[in-house]
Amino acid sequence: MTTHSIAYIAAGRRQRQRRWMLVTCLLTVLALILCCAMLLLGNTIYPVRDILRALSGEELKGVSFAVNTVRLPRMLAGLFAGFAFGLAGNTFQTMLRNPLANPNVIGITSGSSVAAVLCITVFHSSRATISAASVAAGLATVLVIYVLSRGRAFSIGRLILIGIGIQAMLDALISYLLLVGAQQDIPAAIRWLTGSLNGIQLYELPPLIITVLIFTPVVALLGKHLSLLELGEQAATSLGIHTDRTRIALIVSSVCMIAIATATTGPIAFTSFLSGPIAKRLVGVGFSNVIPAGLVGVNLVLAADLVGQFAFQYRFPVGIMTGILGAPYLIFLLIRMNRKGVL
């Protein structure tokens, strides 16, 4: 009887695990295909052999510039920023058990944006300073939200409401900065606020790549803790988790990734909001969807950028494309949550 039931349980679990593996592999393959497309497609379509030669450092007229200076940085920025947005967004949504509890919605991205716009329009800072400032501002925002929402006992509802309030204030601040800023700085600020992979230089990427490489393992290792936090504060504590410590580790990792990615590409609208739920749909709930969410983020950003670049008469920045995808989903989610009475 017992061996029979173990076999029954194990069979079900293996099946769910196979689905997880399959989806994760497919997402990886799709991401690789999109990466290749980012390198291949452009004003001129060069032969694959030339592209490979240019990548390996050979100097080919035209090809080298197009591939190494334009397409490669664009692809890498989309790849790492997409991963960072997807993974960090999913972490917040899972930890706070609410798809609305997301860096986009609760003002962390806005915090980073204020700092960046301030740097662009007022201080005319370098890219490095913009990055540093938006990371610091992102962490400061989350700290303010966390402290304000701690109150007597940690409450998710309060955190989301305070976050939305703070976001409104920060967005007002951004509007103010854009109003008073000098004419010539506004386009740069606007382009940055929309989220764009245009004009990113290779030398700007190391901070983003290093941050993603450092914090991804941290969040992935805390995947099990994350899935217990989902059961609620009391259940997680009684299963032996330091809930405060775990939450802080997860928040710091996610915010660093979000802020650096935001500093590099601008807040690519809704990527961090969409990736987690899509990944969850695809892989199911039993296994950690930290990595799948990151992969969904990559696919979203790269696909949206390709569509924005080539599908229309005009070139649209990636943020507009993801915005078009994300806004209806936000509305759908609000309606559904309202029906279920969980809002």
Binding site: T2, S5, I9, A11, A153, K224, Q234, G284
Partner: protein
């Protein structure tokens, strides 16, 4: 049979922020028995349970297990000995029953490991005790309230602790399921020797299923002992403010509280 433990609280004071709810409680949890904490709403039953299970840090006093202060034990190690089923755990949408029960294995797993043979055995055993094996690969959203509650208890059982705290495990359930859950918990206690401490609302079910009762009033322990020692009409009047007769339960022989309201009182009734 499980190893025995000496779990006790001395001069325990606890509460939330400025509000003290527990005012100096001394107690020893009877090892290998079923204890039930009873008391009126707001008397601190749940707070006491949460403090004992380390969910709330006591303001003063000490709680020890086998002589060791519980605050000094690493959380994961503590979670291998003491488990708690919270009053309203949160269900992740779309999770399968087996995966949820398996989350109870966390204190026994390392950071990287997937499920070991032991994990599978513990999950299967917990599901067998709670009689939910057939739902193993079902989505939890498909189950009824009573079945879900059994899944939660199974998760706490998969944790394989020697001491199990349950915060109102029968609330919101129909009477049939209440009895069923309490029977299953009694099975667990009789067959595995698990020490059970729970908060129950229903005083008659408490008197029937408890080996030991702790009666709380305004954050103080006012009586403890076997149901027949504790559940008397005087005590019920004291802690619940209810006039009643206490008679022998015709099924179990344990004390049974028959409340007296202002209506429907026959003159000939026993008092």
């Amino acid at each position: 049979m499980r190893p025995t433990h000496q779990f006790q609280a001395e001069q325990l004071v606890a509460g939330y922020d400025q509000k003290t709810v527990i005012h100096g409680i001394d107690l020893v949890i009877p090892d290998g028995q079923i204890s039930v904490i009873i008391g009126a709403n707001g008397c601190g039953k749940s707070t006491l349970l949460k403090t004992l299970a380390r969910l709330i840090k006591p303001t003063s006093g000490k709680i020890t297990i086998d002589g060791k202060p519980i605050g000094k034990i690493p959380p994961k190690q503590f979670a291998r000995v003491v488990g708690l089923l919270p009053q309203s755990p949160i269900v992740p949408e779309g999770i399968s029953v087996a995966d949820l029960v398996g989350r109870g294995r966390f204190p026994h797993q390392s950071l990287f490991s997937t499920w070991s043979k032991k994990d599978y055995e513990a999950v299967a055993e917990a599901m067998r005790i709670m009689d939910i094996t057939e739902f193993a690969n079902h989505n939890i959203d498909e189950l009824s309230g009573g079945q879900r509650q059994r899944v939660w208890i199974a998760m706490a059982l998969a944790q394989q602790t020697d001491i199990l705290f349950l915060d109102e495990p029968t609330t919101f359930l129909d009477i049939t399921y209440q009895v069923e859950i309490l029977d299953l918990l009694t099975d667990l206690n009789r067959k595995h020797g698990t020490t059970i401490v729970m908060v129950l609302h229903d005083i008659n079910l408490s008197a029937r299923y408890a080996d030991h009762i702790f009666a709380l009033q305004k954050g103080k322990l006012v009586a403890e002992g076997t149901p027949s020692e504790v559940v008397t009409s005087t005590l019920v009047k004291d802690i619940f403010g209810l006039d009643c007769s206490v008679i022998a339960d015709p099924i179990s022989g344990s004390p049974m509280v028959v409340p007296k309201g202002r209506y429907h009182v026959q003159n000939a009734a026993t008092t």
